[in-house]
Symmetry: C2
Subunit: 143 residues, 2 copies
């Protein structure tokens, strides 16, 4: 895979990997909703097109944010799991959510509330809980 | 301006506003480097094309992340300043930087180190310092 980096800036470099409109939504589906199949990602409310979803999954896999595998009991279907590199995006995800919640509600009143998530009060606790739950999911699936 | 929101998810909604490859780099130029003119943004190492820069500045302004104005002593040149809504992206910016620093160095050894920024050790302190310095800049420019 060709090196995609525009500059030596770590922020620009991160955006070179996940700075499109879809990659972080796939990471969200995995981390927050524990989705893991192509069909599950396809059903998300933003309506990602199959071709884009397929390309983004390949991209995330080639950049080692996710892994693709099959489960022993089901040789037909691929599942996709976050790697530790992908899981390390949890703090970024939480900050993006908190910013949206705090700054877009007036223009977008239908936006879901984060009140019950505990994010506004204690981000670190939410991040740790999400990552722990995800690691538990991975362990339960692949041991 | 048409409502750009794909879903009720706060993460997706944030990405609908700043989830392209350029918007957060312009916010970076403003917040970290205190750049404020079209010419200064154009000179950043990622080489943003003038047409894209112009479109992104209009977009960020229409979404109230930045303001455009002229300074009393210079009626020719526009300057662009972050609003409080834009400044509220500082925690997201820091997390994107920390993730890049921690996860991309092997593939991108030329990436700048964040060691001297203090970000890895104390993100909150860095965020507060950046925001305070920016507010001071704004006050010094427009009182």
């Amino acid at each position: 895979m060709r090196a995609p980096f525009r500059s030596s800036c770590p922020l620009a470099s991160t955006l070179d990997i996940v700075g499109d409109k879809w990659s972080l939504l796939i990471v969200r589906d995995m981390l927050l909703d524990q989705k893991r199949t192509f069909k599950e990602f396809s059903s998300s409310p933003e309506g990602i097109a199959p071709g884009i979803l397929s390309a983004r999954l390949k991209w995330l896999e080639s950049n080692k944010l996710i892994t693709k595998r099959k489960l022993p009991g089901n040789r037909k279907e691929n599942i996709y799991l976050l790697s530790e590199t992908g899981l390390a995006l949890a703090p970024t995800m939480v900050e993006l959510i908190v910013w949206g919640d705090g700054n877009l509600r007036e223009r977008h009143p239908e936006m879901h509330s984060i009140a019950e998530s505990g994010m506004a009060a204690d981000k670190s606790a939410v991040i740790e809980r999400l990552q722990a739950a995800y690691r538990q999911l991975v362990a339960s699936l692949i041991g």
